[in-house]
């Protein structure tokens, strides 16, 4: 009989423990409204890259209990509109601001405003002085592209650069990395470095112009994927090696088909996610580095399939 009583008590105790642990677990599960509101102003939403950046941010924000206001300017050149949006956001009680400025020459205004309002600012994909940066190491991206060309083109070949907006640090850094590497570490010759709006059509016309002016060009480094897609329209019938930047599906398809020789990856999803994690760390008063680089990899026809799969198709 004592056995039965003991059994009864043990069962009762177990039941209580289960219930208590369940209720504790439940109180942990209890949802709470997001703690921070993060304002995000991106350059544009017209390319796959930015959509995947936003997707990465949204995912990480949900995990970190934040909510995002993602607003973009009409296109990558509309810095006035972008600055107006940033100003409005800063006036709307946000806790942090992530910016990818369309023009590095017009960032001081909002950086100062944010500082005055004591709102931390982070830059993504585009470096701003004294502001924490999240994105590719763009100089290294240029060097990677140069190393690939140096390894795959005969000595003495002439190579050129078609760069995106000269107002954007990313393009400037990529171009510098490429040019510096070619000049110092290879037997190739730099032909011309051209800058254009980071748009499909402009890139196309620039490429036409380049090939007209310098028919001996054997390699072109294009600093953005959307521009690369424009360039290959022109260079299809020329023996020119094309290297672009960005991880986006249409460009990777072109690599797979041999229209583009190589891409330097820039995973938007990863940089979006990393940006939110850096902001979360900063909000929790954890130390944050000035430069937060994502991984950049070389995409060629051999491994293009792998990068396509990453896009969740």
């Amino acid at each position: 009989m004592t056995k039965f009583i003991a059994l009864f008590y043990v069962t009762l105790a177990m039941l209580l423990i289960a219930v208590v642990s369940y209720s504790i677990q439940k109180s942990e599960e209890n949802f709470s409204p997001p703690k921070y509101t993060i304002g995000v102003v991106l350059k544009a939403m017209d390319s796959e890259h930015w959509l995947s950046v936003r997707s990465g941010m949204t995912e990480a924000a949900q995990k970190n209990n934040m909510r995002l206001i993602v607003i973009t300017a009409e296109n990558e050149t509309a810095f006035a509109e972008q600055n107006k949006i940033i100003g409005d956001l800063l006036a709307n009680d946000i806790d942090a601001l992530i910016v990818s400025p369309t023009n590095i020459n017009h960032t001081k205004e909002f950086v100062d405003l944010a500082r005055k309002k004591n709102i931390p600012v982070f830059s993504i994909d585009e470096e701003i002085d004294e502001i924490i940066y999240i994105g590719s190491n763009n100089y290294a991206v240029g060097e990677m592209a140069a190393a690939f060309m140096a390894a795959n083109l005969p000595a003495g070949s002439e190579v050129s650069v078609i760069s995106g907006s000269a107002n954007q640090n990313a393009h400037i850094q990529r171009t510098a990395g490429f040019v510096d590497y070619i000049e110092k570490n290879s037997s190739l010759i730099i032909g011309k470095t051209m800058a254009a709006e980071t748009q499909y059509r402009q890139a196309m016309t620039q490429a036409e112009k380049l090939l007209r002016e310098r028919p001996n060009t054997r390699g072109i480094f294009v600093t953005s994927a959307i521009m690369t897609l424009g360039v290959i329209e022109t260079t299809e019938n020329f023996p020119v090696m094309i290297i672009g930047v960005d991880t986006q599906n249409d460009a990777i398809m072109a690599v797979k088909n041999g229209k583009i020789d190589a891409l330097i990856s820039q995973d938007g999803h990863e940089s979006g996610r990393l940006a939110i994690e850096v902001v979360a760390a900063h909000m929790n008063n954890e130390p944050v580095q000035k430069y937060n680089f994502i991984r950049n990899e070389l995409i060629t026809a051999d491994n293009a399939e792998h990068f396509l799969l990453q896009e969740d198709f």
Binding site: L12, Y22, N30, P33, R67, I69, E74, E81, K84, I94
Partner: protein, 570 residues
Amino acid sequence: MKIIWNMRFKMFLAALVINVLGIIFAMLLFYHYATEHFYSEYASSLYERIFIGAKNADLGFQRIYRMTLDISFDMQITELINKGDFTQLATRLKEYREKNSLSDDIYCYMPAKKILVRSEEYNSVQKLDNEVANTWHRIIEQQAGIRPLFIENILSPATKKVFLYKAKVSGAEAFITTQISERGLYYAYLDDIGMADSNLIVMFDSAGNVVSQSRAIDKKNLNVLFSEVRQKNTELSLTLGDEEFFGTCVEMPLSRCTVLLLVNKKKIYGKIIFMQILSVLGVIFILLLSTFFIYILSAKLNEPVENLAQIMQAVGHGNFSLRAKVEGNDEIGYLADRFNHMLEHIETLIDNLANEKVLKRQAELNALQYQIRPHFIYNTLNSIRFAAMIQGAKNIGELLANFIELLQVSTNREGEFGTLAEEISTLKKYIALQEFRLMNSFAVDFNLAEESLSCRVPRLILQPFVENSILHAPSPEKTFCRIMISSELKGGELIISIEDDGKGISPEVLKNLSAKPSDKKAHGGFSGIGVANIKERLRLYYGDASKVICESDGKTFTKISIVLPAEVTS
């Protein structure tokens, strides 16, 4: 049977009580957590729903904000304003409006000229009178940035409530305003969230003004609601008027408006009552099921006890051949086993008792038979005695009287002991008989101490020794012997001696007499049996306290001394 039922019933009842308490306790716990969980889950599902609705509404605001900004940065718009081509401007505005279905209408207001250009087909360019222009200017000045302004649109033909965004046209002295009608926004985003008429949706702006709602609520209640909303409580429960509500709210990050969804508790109560009924039914079902099992279990557990009790009852009625079934290795099994042992023991005892009874009866019968024979002999002898007396043979009559008395004493069953005086009297009768038989071959003298006569002695202990002396003492050389019987008390012992002056006993025979009765051999002359009998009787009566001493020189005398513990009768 009543006890058995009680035992089983008690056990059943005890188990049932524990069971009922346990089940009720478990069910209460379960019910408590289930309802709590239910509320929390319900709140979270409400939150999810309202979150998506609010997010969409916020995106709607963002689109209008972005459009207003786009228009203000549109170079073509600036150009048209500066050129004064208002008809074209109106068309352009209309194009914008058509791009976004949420926008009610778009105005371009030029404060300097007090001209309003509208994205409408009809009357698209208006010159405002001073008062209206000033009022409008004052209204739109309140709005800046991302948060919409909630106002009454005084410029529309019928005044209606709208959300308004404003942007200054870059490069021209003009303001673009985009209006979203409150009802338009409500039906586009909020109406689906509410689902039922009994539910309530309220949207507050950041200042606490109600900007949209599903039905009218009085102001006092709205204040209550807003104070709840301000705490950003995602799970709230409150009473408005006579209705109870359960709800949640979500703040929209861009417009900083808060959407509040209140669900009438009546609806939830229905579900909770259903849950309660389900719990109660569950309890009843489990109780019935467990009662059944407990009954079976208690019956099973009680079976050995009941069997044992039944067997006990049957045995109590006299059926000793039954045996209890020994089941299991527990206390009941042990009890049954012991009970069986006890029954076997009792049975043996009863058998023994019965046997003894039979034997005793047999002995009694034998004794009765023995009693019949002496009586018959006495009667016959008495008849002969009287015949002898009648015929004048007085001698024979006396002899017969002595013989009869002797016979009576020897078969007397009344007592085994008598006084020494009685013993001597019996002995004298015997001697008289022997004198008649043997005629002057012996003479008996008595030397008895007076105090010894009242001593208690076993009957007929002297006769065999006297018989020996009478029969064996005379010899051919000496045909007449004297026999001396004496008694004395000495040191608490009664010493009776029989001495004759006959031929004595050879040392061989003497040795034989002194030996233990079992070792002796029958001897022709001296009757060993009589003497041995006496010795055995004395041993039985007194143990080692008595002695029989035989002395003789084998030629001139024989002396037998009987030593007994002196027991003087009162």
